[in-house]
Symmetry: C2
Subunit: 203 residues, 2 copies
DNA sequence: GATCATTTTAATCAAATGTTTAAAAAATTG
DNA sequence: CAATTTTTTAAACATTTGATTAAAATGATC
């Protein structure tokens, strides 16, 4: 006979707690998450959270580090591939990143919400330098020295990420269901490179 | 002699509380905001918050309605101006909206964070229908029947809004200060219409 | 200026919340 | 299998937090 709900009975206690923390923190954010929520979601005794992770904050930092690595880690390697053309980088990025976010749709808004709610905590903690000084940026400067390269970086990022950021709004509005959203995002993989390459030619 | 900090001593008590609530809710979000924070920021006795607004939640709903109206209210009129061409709508939107967000930089992330943290609360409460069925959408369908119009709506919106959503990240990373950000956004007012019109021609 | 209504205050309440404690249960070791 | 360590549990603790209360202060009305 099956166990109730999503309880991961085969995992170690530590992993059960981390798994539950990922779900609850991602869904409600740090401030709205109660340690009892996590304990319940993990199917463990409340005290075990502190036994294994000392505090709610320590547990959160652990999860947040994971999520930051996932969100930012996928960007830099692609944009620093010195063997790839601009076109190739943009294509690789939109394809890979849309796949990543399709598998982790709440990732961007989770990170953005937490940084906004507590910016001091993240000062010099966000691995973005590798992106801001990437080979991609250099190529942009060569191709279009008349436009600040950050514009194009922002656009590649925005065209891929922004739909996921707006997803809760569109969903609550009932104007875009799960299936339609997935279809649009699949289309964007091919559209975004075309659009951006077009931008780079626009005078 | 000046009064301490930002206390708005000339306003009515009710307005003092609302003003403080706007600041604190916008900065920390609903869950992380304590009624005592608001009372302190307003320079009033804690009990007055409940005297005038019954509860933290009621006060929040008031502020949220304001912010939703500000965020969504500016979009529909522009996109439904039947006298404006596509180009004119896009130009009017990026100019007006970037001005609006420059004056209210935390507005998008505030709304997006709250919707994400509590989506049920906003079901059928977001005035987005007027946008999804706008004259702008009709024009897009005529011009490019081969691409779903939501893509272009998403792009106009994203290119304008996404930088403000990423602002805390860029700022915490130290790769974009206040002045540089303002400069880029000023540039985007003219760039976005060019980019989008280019997209509409891209086959 | 006495009476009544409105606004403000200090104190308190009850519930929620992160964390700790001490003992029980389970696992490990020699 | 006895001794020891590790893990789990139930209970409780100390704060925090949203809200209320009753009285005081202020303002309005006749």
């Amino acid at each position: 006979m099956a166990k109730k709900k999503l309880e991961e009975v085969d995992l170690s206690t530590e992993e059960k707690i981390k798994d539950a923390a990922r779900r609850v923190f991602m869904k409600k954010g740090y401030a709205a998450t109660r340690t009892r929520d996590i304990a319940e979601a993990a199917g463990i005794n409340l005290a075990l959270l502190n036994y294994y992770f000392r505090s709610k904050e320590k547990l959160f930092e652990l999860i947040m580090l994971e999520k930051l690595a996932k969100f930012f880690g996928a960007i830099a390697p692609i944009l620093n591939d010195t063997n790839a053309t601009l076109d190739q980088k943009i294509s690789a990025f939109s394809n890979n990143y849309i796949d990543l976010l399709t598998a982790n749709p709440e990732l961007p808004l989770f990170i953005l919400s937490e940084v906004r709610a507590n910016p001091e905590r993240f000062v010099n903690k966000l691995p973005v330098a590798k992106v801001a000084e990437s080979h991609f940026i250099q190529q942009l400067q060569e191709k279009r020295p008349d436009v600040h390269p950050l514009h194009f970086l922002m656009n590649v990022l925005g065209l891929s990420v922004f739909p996921f950021v707006m997803k809760p709004v569109f969903h609550a509005s009932g104007i875009l269901n799960e299936r339609a959203f997935a279809a649009r995002m699949e289309e964007r993989k091919a559209l975004i490179p075309k659009w951006i390459m077009g931008m780079l030619k626009t005078k």
